[in-house]
């Protein structure tokens, strides 16, 4: 949301806006950040020395039921994916200077993001009740830190969306400033894509 990139530089050498380039670079470095977390999760997958386990497991001859509720998490993943659609619609709206559309879709995106976060909070609480903590075993450690950092990113995204929404309510965003929305969108889509990877790697692909 930073304004005016620099000293009255009319054009950049590449024609790409400074702020957009900055956002792409930031996302590139975020790939390494989540890469490190996901790599750690994969390294420690199936290596917990005791329950709770993600899925139904027989450990030392004792059967344990898994903590994952795949249908529930699938729905919250779907909610997050739909928020990307509304983000696209928000940007499309302001690019044709439809300020009402912008306000509606921004709020919609933020609400969908908050729904996802609420789902994550619910899920964390459930897992905690079943004995899974950051301390309990390797699965707890890697699961909570990975999904927790993703949740923190979604929260920052919601904060940005709500800030934009307030600006939009005050009529401060027009087609000329659509880049603000575009940048928030880049970040939001990235966070979504990361969730697709996490959802696939952590929830869907289970070692047999």
């Amino acid at each position: 949301m930073q304004h005016a990139p620099a000293v009255h530089q009319a054009e950049t050498s590449t024609g790409i806006d400074n702020r957009k380039l900055l956002m792409w670079l930031f996302l590139a470095s975020e790939c390494l950040f989540f890469g490190g977390l996901i790599g750690t999760y994969l390294l420690y997958r199936n290596r917990s020395e005791g329950p709770p386990f993600p899925t139904d497991t027989v450990y030392n001859g004792v059967p344990y039921s898994g903590v994952f509720d795949i249908p529930f998490t699938s729905i919250s993943a779907f909610v997050l994916l739909m928020s990307s659609v509304s983000m696209v619609l928000a940007l499309a709206a302001i690019q044709r200077n439809d300020k009402r559309g912008l306000r509606a879709w921004l709020l919609c995106t933020a609400l969908l993001g908050m729904t996802f976060l609420a789902g994550q909070a619910f899920e964390f609480t459930e897992f905690y009740r079943e004995g899974l903590t950051v301390h309990s075993n390797l699965f707890g450690t890697t699961f909570f830190v990975l999904t927790g950092f993703h949740g923190a990113h979604v929260s920052v995204g919601v904060l940005i969306l709500l800030s934009l929404w307030v600006m939009a309510l005050r009529g401060k965003i027009s087609a000329k400033e659509s880049l603000n929305v575009e940048l928030a969108g880049l970040y939001w889509h990235f966070v979504d894509v990361v969730w697709i990877v996490i959802f696939t790697v952590v929830y869907l692909i289970q070692p047999t």
Binding site: V7, S13, T14, L22, F33, G35
Partner: protein, 639 residues
């Protein structure tokens, strides 16, 4: 201004902030430095701060050397010794060499590409303040890190697990005080600073070049800054993840490195060195860039094989991602992994060697002006070659098995980081000091500095090679008599004292030259790049008119043509010192000064303290940072 309203004196606070902003805008007093967004001033702040940390890190090194001068030394106990060598390494890497390089990026990049500032001036100020606060946070650990006793009870705080912080040494079980907490959180904060700087310089170099400044007309230093910045923004996130994992283990009882729960300390080593090896090149590539500017100027020849130097630097950066496990040969990765990483490590010597030959070929046949700057640059080539070759001996797995954890390793990396990076940075200081101070550094004192440092450096670190081959392990606080290590340790300590004297000569030189130094014109060295076209020191707006670039070494070609046999002859029109036409810079809009980067940065160490002492501080720090960021986003960038 919400904070002002809360304070109950809204009018006066707002007024005070407005006045401070005005004072800063008109470049007066202390506020003009606190609120500055000028890349040159930020560069100077970086340089002075990093040099101060250099003195602190140097004192730590001297205590280490005095302790080891004789067998069974009794100056510090083993606990204090561990804290000293940890802080020495951490300080020199993260608080000295990286920010000194950042100082050069800040001072030079906009000038070299013909821009009025970096792409994001306030983000640039933010980088500096985060660096300063992160450095102070880290250093504060000395006084608060060990709850068992204060500084004067002989119980230093500070981290104690080495600059590489190997798990499980860093876990609460083996490092009880808060030292490692300060270390982990401090490095996370410093990472924010480096990454913000990295993003800024990539965007600046890609997007802010003057018309005609194509990528392959950029000075090599600009190239190396670009490459280094990419390494920074891609390597820092990895160490950040590892540091978060360490913090979670220590603060919240997570199991990342907890062997009892199935965790593996090797994860830390992989993460640390996956960052750590690119980091080595983050430290040395800027120095290589500096040397690539200094050598052509004082040889009065273009850099030999410019594209080769550029592509070698890029190749080094790519390959630096595939060599990390050579730090881990003895951890039992297996012979296939060891062989693969051995080969990749040998290969990375190739582009490095290409550069060394290019530098030598640049000197060959030139009309050489052997002043302090060039001495340091040539010293860099010689010392870095020794450092590089000893590095190649480490890449051979069976040889490394013998050298692992000995003083040979210590000698090697000081050879590349002092003889390499630091010599290169000093070459740059002597070369560009006149540009930013308007005064030439004294040559006699400069040469005394160089020779003292060169001799002191070799007397310090070559004996360590011998000590390593004699089997002296690193990180030991004392050694018994009769090991045959006493003589060489004493020699090394004498050398370290000589380096200390040379640094004092350097400081005297700076002060003396600032006061009584010879005035430098715009172009004291008959330079080749754009920064020499503008007055020394440069005006706030840098270029009265944005230059039009037509060639590599554009300024040189404006001053000289070549006769039939390739000898440069001055261009008659305008003469050898043709300067850009200088307007008075009237009507040039500069970015407004801002306090918001400082405020946003100030919240970060408070969050850090919060994780160590009281979670309420985490919330307070986050509020401060959030306030700073929002006010930053809402204030106009220029008025």
């Amino acid at each position: 201004m919400a904070g002002a309203a809360l304070a109950g004196r809204p009018v006066s606070m707002v007024e005070a902030v407005r006045r401070a902003r005005q004072a800063a805008a008109s470049y007066r007093g202390i506020w003009s430095w606190v609120a500055t967004v000028d890349h040159k001033r930020i560069g100077m702040l970086y340089a002075v701060t990093a040099f101060t940390f250099f003195l602190i890190g140097g004192i730590e090194a001297l205590i280490i050397r005095l302790q080891l001068a004789q067998p069974a030394g009794g100056l510090v106990d083993s606990d204090q010794y561990s804290r000293l060598f940890t802080m020495h390494g951490t300080t020199m890497v993260f608080l000295v060499v990286m920010p000194l390089s950042a100082a050069f990026f800040n001072l030079l990049i906009p000038l070299m590409i013909g821009a009025r500032d970096v792409a994001f001036p306030r983000l640039n100020a933010f980088s500096y303040w985060v660096f300063l606060f992160g450095g102070l946070f880290m250093t504060a650990s000395f006084f608060t890190g060990n709850p068992a006793g204060g500084f004067f009870q002989g119980k230093l705080g500070a981290p104690d697990a080495g600059w590489f912080g190997y798990a499980p040494l860093t876990l609460t079980k083996f490092s009880a005080g808060h030292g490692i907490d300060y270390w982990a959180l401090g490095l996370i904060i410093l990472g924010v600073s480096s990454m913000a700087g990295g993003f800024n310089f990539i965007v600046t170099i890609i997007n802010m070049r003057a018309p005609g400044m194509t990528l392959f007309r950029m000075p090599v230093f600009v190239w190396m800054t670009l490459v280094t910045s990419f390494l920074i923004v891609l390597a820092m996130p990895i160490i950040t993840v590892a540091l978060f994992q360490l913090m979670f283990d220590r603060t919240f009882g997570a199991n990342f490195f907890n062997v009892a729960e199935g965790g593996t300390p090797l994860l830390w080593q992989h993460m640390f060195w996956l960052f750590g090896h690119p980091e080595v090149y983050i430290l040395v590539l800027p120095a290589m860039g500096i040397v690539s500017e200094v050598l052509p100027t004082f040889s009065r020849k273009p850099l030999f094989g410019y594209p080769f130097v550029v592509f070698s630097g890029t190749a080094i950066a790519f390959m630096s991602w595939g060599v990390w496990a050579h730090h881990m040969y003895t951890t039992g990765l297996g012979s296939v992994a060891n062989a693969a990483f051995g080969v990749s490590t040998i290969l990375i010597a190739v582009p490095t060697g290409v550069k060394i030959f290019n530098w030598m070929a640049t000197l060959y046949g030139g009309s050489i002006k052997l002043n302090t700057s060039l001495l340091f640059a040539v010293g860099f080539i010689a010392m870095f070659t020794v450092g590089g070759l000893t590095g190649v001996t480490h890449s051979i797995v069976p040889s490394d098995y013998q050298q692992q954890d000995t003083y040979y390793i210590v000698a090697h990396f000081h050879q590349v980081l002092v003889g390499g990076a630091l010599f290169g940075l000093f070459a740059g200081i002597y070369y560009w000091f006149p540009k930013f101070s308007g005064k030439l550094l004294n040559e006699k004192l400069g040469q005394a500095h160089f020779w003292l440092m060169m001799i002191g450096f070799n007397v310090t670190f070559q004996p360590m090679m011998i000590l390593g081959l004699l089997g002296m392990p690193r990180r030991i606080q004392s050694y018994p008599d009769g090991m045959g290590w006493g003589l060489w340790n004493m020699v090394a300590t004498v050398g370290a004292l000589a380096i200390a004297v040379s640094i004092m000569v350097f400081m005297v030189n700076i002060v003396y030259s600032m006061i009584r130094g010879e005035k430098a014109g715009a172009d004291p060295w008959d330079g080749r790049t754009l920064e020499w076209t503008i007055p020394s020191p440069p005006p706030a707006y840098n270029f009265a008119e944005i230059p039009q670039v037509r060639a590599l070494d554009d300024f040189w070609h404006r001053k000289y043509a070549e006769n039939e046999s390739g000898v440069p002859v001055p261009v008659v029109a305008g003469g050898a010192y043709a300067e850009e036409p200088h307007g008075d810079g009237h009507g040039i809009h500069l970015p407004s000064p801002s306090f918001m980067p400082l405020i946003a940065a100030f919240g970060l160490p408070i969050i850090g303290f919060g994780f160590i002492y009281d979670y309420a501080l985490v919330a307070a720090g986050a509020m401060i940072t959030l306030f700073g960021l929002y006010a930053w986003a809402l204030e106009p960038a220029s008025e």
